[in-house]
């Protein structure tokens, strides 16, 4: 009884928050509603007895992916009023595309015939004595290891692609030389001055940074700097 009630509660919140993701005017609120819907999906997984999937959903989507969404959305300052400006003008075109897509979906799913024996496969795959974490591990890493490795490779290629696309030119960007920074000691940069007691400290006798050796400066940047 409680499980059924909980199911309806979580599903209702899930659908409501998913609707809010699309309709809310503030993009940050939209992402927060997205997170709420992730949570409710995780709760539904828990109700179905798939605790590993529930935790993974929270860790991966809520803990990492949604944080990056939120990060980007907060930084970008998207103005939704501006985005909605041409709404009425583009409405007919958008509606037409939507109707065409809907029609295609109906055609595809209407003609979908389910194989006769598949129900039996779907409803009794679990050995209740083995916890589902172990079962998922067995499936992924033993039974379907090749497919798993291939998907890993695809992700690797995508990652390298993203890095290649965003890697900036190293000559124009400034970089730190970590080894040089770490190798630097106090003796390289500071002059220790003995102070005679009671005589005061002359203005040029503080513990002070050494004067850096004059480096050859490119003419374009030193223009107008005559000190």
């Amino acid at each position: 009884m409680i499980a059924t009630l909980a199911f309806y509660l979580f599903s209702a919140i899930l659908i409501a928050s998913a609707a809010m993701v699309v309709t809310s005017r503030n993009p940050v609120h939209a992402v927060l509603f997205l997170i709420l819907s992730f949570f409710n999906a995780a709760a539904l997984f828990l109700l179905a007895g798939a605790e590993f999937l529930a935790m993974t959903l929270v860790i991966v989507y809520v803990g990492a992916v949604a944080v990056l969404f939120l990060f980007v959305v907060m930084m970008l300052d998207v103005n939704f009023v501006q985005l909605r400006e041409g709404f009425q003008r583009y409405l007919p075109v958008g509606a037409t595309i939507g109707v065409v897509l809907l029609g295609e979906l109906v055609l595809v799913t209407g003609g979908w015939r389910i194989a006769p024996g598949s129900d039996a496969l779907r409803f009794a795959p679990m050995d209740a004595t083995v916890e589902n974490t172990r079962q998922i591990g067995q499936m992924l890493y033993t039974d379907y290891i090749l497919l798993f490795q291939v998907s890993g490779l695809i992700l690797l290629v995508a990652m390298i692609g993203a890095i290649v696309l965003t890697l900036r030119d190293r000559r124009t960007s400034r970089h730190q030389n970590v080894a040089a920074q770490i190798a630097r000691t106090a003796a390289d940069t500071l002059v220790l001055v003995d102070v005679v007691r009671g005589a005061g400290v002359p203005a040029d006798h503080y513990l002070r940074p050494k004067v850096a050796e004059a480096k050859p400066v490119a003419p374009a940047t030193s223009h107008g700097d005559h000190h």
């Binding site: 940050v28 927060l32 997170i35 605790e51 590993f52 935790m55 993974t56 929270v58 860790i59 809520v62 803990g63 990492a64 944080v67 990056l68 939120l70 990060f71 907060m74 930084m75 916890e131 974490t133 730190q176 970590v178």
Partner: protein, 342 residues
């Protein structure tokens, strides 16, 4: 009479609910007292490090100082900035505090002494600790002010980065245990605590927990000398208090995680024979030792630069933890020490 009570608590739905609430209170009330005295201990230890006395006026040895602070905080006026997003502004401290509390449901203080002894305990802890960033991010954004926003941005990047290597450290421990259950993790250390064979991972995990709890030397999200107080700059009174409680409860939580994963939880060191009820005391002693290290580090090290922090997370911790995970898995495989290697 007693029979009726036991029957009611164990076999009635309402009774079970009441029993769960009692169990939760049995964890949370001592936890909050511990948080209060952690703030006191921090000020005393920092005082000792800096050759000061620390709080010594309120009560004997200043022992009532935390309660005086709590009352002061409650009496102050709650200020909500007019430009802020009010609902989220108030949600953020509650979220931080609530997350710091719910994680305690799975922490076993003794063999089988957890409110919820679930099979995916480690994943649950990892999930909850990875949510901690939301309290900070929402606080920074809802304040609608530049320093909190900078603090939130820093915190988001920092916590996401260090979570990755923390995850790999946990996986290394799990490979040695063969279970995600926290109880099993501790009992697997009966002969040898994991901090010995996995010592580098222990150090890595400890440093990552410093970064994850935004403690010095990684306290960039609040960095008072650069961005005033960071993400909780606009908060006052109880809403600030909830952040404060949440941060310290998180410190204790992370110390407990370190204790469970590496220091053998409730097990006695060197197999000293102790009665069963003494387990929680060993647990708390270990947690206190780690908390002392937290405070010690705060009193000793200067704050990291932001780029250094990021470089260490991604270019040192992540490759090293990956390498060590592969090494441990390889060694276990080669010597046939893998658990459940049927």
């Amino acid at each position: 009479m007693v029979d009726i009570l036991v029957d009611f608590l164990l076999h009635n739905m309402l009774g079970q609910l009441i029993l769960t609430v009692i169990k939760a209170l049995a964890i949370l009330v001592p936890l909050l007292v511990m948080v209060a005295y952690l703030t006191y201990a921090e000020r005393k230890v920092l005082g000792a490090i800096q050759l000061r006395r620390g709080p010594n006026v309120v009560g004997p040895f200043g022992l009532f100082q935390p309660f005086a602070d709590a009352i002061k905080m409650l009496m102050k006026e709650t200020i909500i900035p007019s430009g802020s997003s009010k609902a989220l502004f108030l949600l953020a401290p509650m979220l931080t505090f609530a997350l710091a509390m719910v994680a305690w449901a799975v922490i076993p203080l003794n063999d089988g002494w957890a409110v919820a002894d679930i099979n995916v305990g480690v994943l649950y802890l990892f999930a909850i600790s990875s949510l901690g960033v939301y309290g900070i991010i929402i606080a920074g954004w809802a304040s609608n002010s530049k320093y909190p926003f900078l603090g939130a941005m820093r915190s988001a990047a920092q916590m996401v980065s260090y979570e990755v290597s923390m995850g790999f450290v946990m996986v290394t421990v799990l490979v040695c245990v063969g279970s995600l259950n926290l109880n099993d993790i501790v009992t697997a250390q009966t002969n040898l605590w994991f901090c010995v064979p996995l010592f580098p991972m222990f150090v890595l995990f400890f440093i990552s927990t410093l970064a994850e709890t935004n403690r010095s030397p990684f306290d960039l999200p609040e960095g008072e000398s650069e961005i005033v107080a960071g993400f909780f700059l606009e908060y006052s009174s109880l809403s600030f208090g909830l952040f404060f409680l949440g941060e310290y409860a998180n410190m204790i939580l992370m110390s407990s995680m370190t204790t469970i994963l590496f220091l053998g939880g409730w097990l006695a060191p060197f197999g000293i024979p102790t009665p069963f009820w003494f387990g929680p005391i060993w647990f708390i002693l270990k947690v206190c030792a780690i908390l002392f290290a937290f405070i010690w580090i705060r009193g000793t090290f200067p704050r990291y630069l932001y780029d250094q922090l990021m470089r260490m997370g991604w270019k040192v911790f992540l490759p090293f933890s990956l390498f060590y995970l592969v090494l441990v898995a390889g060694v276990l495989m080669a010597f046939g020490w893998l658990p459940h290697s049927a």
